[in-house]
Symmetry: C2
Amino acid sequence: MALPTSVKLFEMAPRDGLQNEPGDPVPTATKIELIERLANAGIGHIEAASFVSPKWVPQMGDAAEVMRGLTREPSVVYSALTPNLKGLENALAVGVEEVAVFGAASEAFSQKNINCSIAESLARFEPVLKRAQEAGVRVRGYVSCVLGCPYEGDIVPSQVANVAKALYDMGCYEISLGDTIGVGTPLAAKRMIEATRQYVPIEHLAAHFHDTYGMALANLYAVLEEGVSVIDAATAGLGGCPYAKGASGNVATEDVLYLLAGLGIDTGINLQAIIDTGYWITGELGRKPSSKVALAKGRVSS
Amino acid sequence: MALPTSVKLFEMAPRDGLQNEPGDPVPTATKIELIERLANAGIGHIEAASFVSPKWVPQMGDAAEVMRGLTREPSVVYSALTPNLKGLENALAVGVEEVAVFGAASEAFSQKNINCSIAESLARFEPVLKRAQEAGVRVRGYVSCVLGCPYEGDIVPSQVANVAKALYDMGCYEISLGDTIGVGTPLAAKRMIEATRQYVPIEHLAAHFHDTYGMALANLYAVLEEGVSVIDAATAGLGGCPYAKGASGNVATEDVLYLLAGLGIDTGINLQAIIDTGYWITGELGRKPSSKVALAKGRVSS
């Protein structure tokens, strides 16, 4: 199959990247600077915050302050996770222009992660979708554990397809398919996409792969061959899943950009600016980027 | 295209993995234990030593002692790098049953790495091939810099194909195509294989990819789709190239085995035993394995 000619990169570092950061909350000013640096590097879609209870995710407790403090580029979409109606109202109050809901392809993971069944989670999203539509705000849908679950093991592709279909039919404009624990391999990733595209057009599917087992880029190449043209990634490979054992970070934006450039696929993003941003934010967090491209190329500016 | 049903994994840790190790030479007994552990884990092809001048590669100065000290499994092939006739004679004297010569697809790299042009290097290999044939010993041919050179940048696929053809026509039974500095991406890897298979049957081509930019597994998946069925890898991702700036280690055997298992491709190798061996050898070297699969799964025994 033909590779896409361009790819939309959805940047996850400020939300999926930071939400699990241990220790004191990252300062609001640092989060804002991160988001602004990412936008300046040419990233057009940034998940900037999560309007979830700070009891559950203390790192995201300043979501409203982050969204209010941000100098927004008109060409950039700043989205936020809104697990329920209260979160959505809080997000709308600070002018969030795109939101996201978060479901799972695994019953056990749904119970552990959001304390309800898959069906219950979908029912909870309905009023969120309805209210978002009234407000003229687009909703993205996440499906987690699409290539494996820490509690259930393998997940059959039809299960992923069913949850993706439900979210799409409910009105989500894009479905992001998450290999939350990074256990997938390329043929499994292809089969999962093949099953899901039966219900959701391929241009509305995004690949959200974690690199726990080092497979993320191989899996991305495999789903690019299927025609997937939206990729979630986090600068410096930040992130992980707080409720999934052994789930390390998102695939690094730097590595995805290097792969895409080698494939002749356009993103409009400045790789070196992302590398520099990755060195800066991981410096703030007291470590090095989890990106082989960043380590191989090195930083140019601070 | 169809993926191969089985893959021959050629283990590089004792030679390509250790040759560049800084500091004091790794003790001969440690090298021998490494090779024996790899064989016990089910690896059938191990590059065990390099019969090169210890002036150039001090870490390989005990090649003869390693080969003599080894308890050999009858089902395992233990090969050695022999850059010239003197190296070959030394290897034959200790009963090496397979040897390898090392050429480059880049003129500049050939000059810097082995101090001669590509044509001169090929001419030097001719007496090695002739003597090996007399001795009934198979010869493997390496081509380095097949996806990029630290001095020349991009390498055209036809240049790789020409060098591979010369080595194959000279009598090398298998041509291992090395992305020495790990800069390649999947389409470039595919094109390089497509050019080379015009002259060398696909079953005689091996992929030898380094993971400097994190692309090795994606590139391997791409060439598996081309039908390549021999993969070079080093347990714990050991290694690198002493004369190529920024060239980090080989792709980790652990990660390759995980990828292949996910693709349903048989190798007959015990992944957990390789993970444990990787933890053991990197412990001896004072670090952790460079393998995400090893880090995610953890060791079981010492």
